[in-house]
């Protein structure tokens, strides 16, 4: 651990670069995927085109992409832009599919009700479809984020600074501690970001409470073990009481 105490500054810098290179593509990829997926969802010809097309994208090896992109984009070989663009493409590859699933999992009754109430298409998209697609989307987002964090390291091979630099440098100079720090730091970032996304998903899907016995509104239901014992229990009691009132009017 001597190595870390002497180099923690470098590690922090690299971690920062790593974070930017993995998170920025997720944001960009999401912005691209959501509209694409919305167009593809339910469309007879656009759906297979986009879903298959984006999956093919994922089969391109990342190193190839890092090397080819400068030729296409006209950037320098060691530019961070290459990594960001390449990883954005991977995020799109993952997210288009899961966003299509998300939009197709929406309850048609709910969408029809929204239309019948007088929602216009744009407002319906932002006010109803997007929030309801969140549970399925978050699942894809978590996969994309974690896969990105591991893939950023590959950029180090062609000299783009990230936590991956600790592997290449450690290997070249045979510093085991440096490699270990690289692994631990990468895993740490992956776990933290994944948990943050999980929390974000939970905040955005407070309406999906377990144990209320209602039908699921698309997506999987997450078991929330922390808070809602009291709230949900109270809710259930009160609901039960009201149900009793409801049927109280029935004839003997």
């Amino acid at each position: 651990m001597n190595w870390l105490t002497n180099n923690w500054h470098t590690v922090l810098d690299l971690a920062g670069a790593h974070l930017v290179q993995s998170v920025l593509p997720v944001v960009l990829g999401l912005l691209v995927s959501v509209p694409l997926a919305r167009l593809a969802a339910g469309s007879r010809w656009l759906r297979p085109l986009l879903v298959t097309g984006s999956s093919l994208l994922y089969t391109i090896p990342s190193l190839t992409l890092f090397v080819v992109l400068p030729l296409v984009l006209g950037t320098r070989m060691t530019s961070v832009v290459n990594v960001i663009v390449a990883l954005t493409l991977y995020v799109v590859a993952i997210l288009v599919r899961s966003c299509v699933d998300a939009f197709e999992s929406l309850d048609r009754d709910v969408l029809q009700a929204a239309t019948a109430m007088g929602y216009r298409p744009a407002r319906r998209f932002f006010g109803v479809e997007l929030p309801l697609a969140v549970p399925v989307m978050v699942a894809g987002l978590r996969v994309a984020t974690v896969s990105n964090i591991s893939m950023v390291s590959v950029g180090a091979v062609i000299g783009i600074q990230s936590l991956g630099t600790l592997f290449t440098d450690g290997l070249r100079r045979s510093i085991v501690a440096e490699i270990l720090v690289g692994i631990v730091a990468t895993v740490l970032i992956a776990v933290v970001l994944d948990q943050l996304l999980r929390l974000l998903g939970q905040v955005l899907t407070r309406w999906q409470r377990p144990g209320t016995g209602a039908r699921e509104a698309g997506g999987r239901r997450r078991r929330d073990t922390r808070g809602p014992g009291r709230t949900a229990g109270g809710a259930r009691d009160a609901t039960g009481a009201l149900a009793a009132v409801e049927s109280g009017g029935a004839r003997a």
Partner: protein, 404 residues
Amino acid sequence: MTDMAILYRGVSKVYPDGTTAVDHLDLDIPAGSLTVFVGPSGCGKTTSLRMLNRMVEPTSGTVEINGQDVSSIPAAKLRRSMGYVMQQSGLLPHRTVEDNIATVPRLNGVSKRTARADARQLLASVGLDESLATRYPAQLSGGQQQRVGVARALAADPPILLMDEPFSAVDPVVRQDLQRELLDLQKRLHRTIVFVTHDIDEAVLLGNRVAVFARGGRLAQYTTPEELLRAPADDFVADFIGRDRGFRSLGFDSATVALQPVAAIVSGTGERILLGPGMRDGATGDGGTDDGGAAAGRVAPWQSAAATDPDWLLVVDERRHPLGWLPVSATGEPAPSDQLRVGGTLWHDGDSLRTALDAALSSPSGQAVAVNGDGSVAGVVPGGDVMRAIEEQRSARYDRPEHP
């Protein structure tokens, strides 16, 4: 009937694959009425309903609302001017109850604060507690969700309400409550309601007028529920209404049947009393379960009463509410209380003949138990008397046309 809210004029809907959903529909719906579209699935009733708010556009013909062709009104604006309730409530699962109710006012630009305040007031009018306002739909029972759905449809105070099988997914007990409340609501609000159902009972119960749709989108009959049950236009309608048609039509005749007194036994004390017309409540016999002959002697005054059926004793509680019937043995001894037969349905004086007949048929003793408004026994009517009353009603009805 000059005030027609909704007019269908030669409306058809043919899908590209050639299926005819609605076939030349002509229909006038008066303002302030509750009109029910009923029919088997695939008969075009929902399609016809959805033409009103342009969720479906007709292939030919026009739909007019208050004299205006709906196709000339922008869809979103048109839809906001009508309440819409659907089968699975269609509540937005990510919005709280109050925000769901506030949806249309919010779309119309009402401030969040005002819309929520109004939403809370509406909760009460559909029989829900205000504490539910901040719940999510998933935390409500099916019946509660349906109530919120109704409140949401009413939120923008629309003159027209469209209801697409709103109660078909809730259990029968809750459905009955919701139906009754809808009728109450309609009495207060006088909206023009178009209600779609596949349940003929629901149609007959709720509708001022019932439109029966046949397969292929043909309107088979459009009339009052009473006429529908008495004079189905064709075999399809008769068939759809079903076997119990005659029994159901009794639901429109209120019964005038003379009540008779009944021998009763008070559960708990075992006191034997006579309940019914001419008997003051609480007129007692005496010490109940002693030897039959003696008891019969002492209660001689009632023996002449026709309803003093020696085979059955009506068991009542101390408030004179009926509990059930006890068989009486040949010796006049009532059976032990564990042989209590749960009573049949109850009948309030002035209820329909259908209720009276049902009360008689479901009663172990064959006598319909009539109750007062407070639930205490008012007397009994033997099944035979109910049948006689039905017969009188029938001959009265069929005499009329024969004497012009």
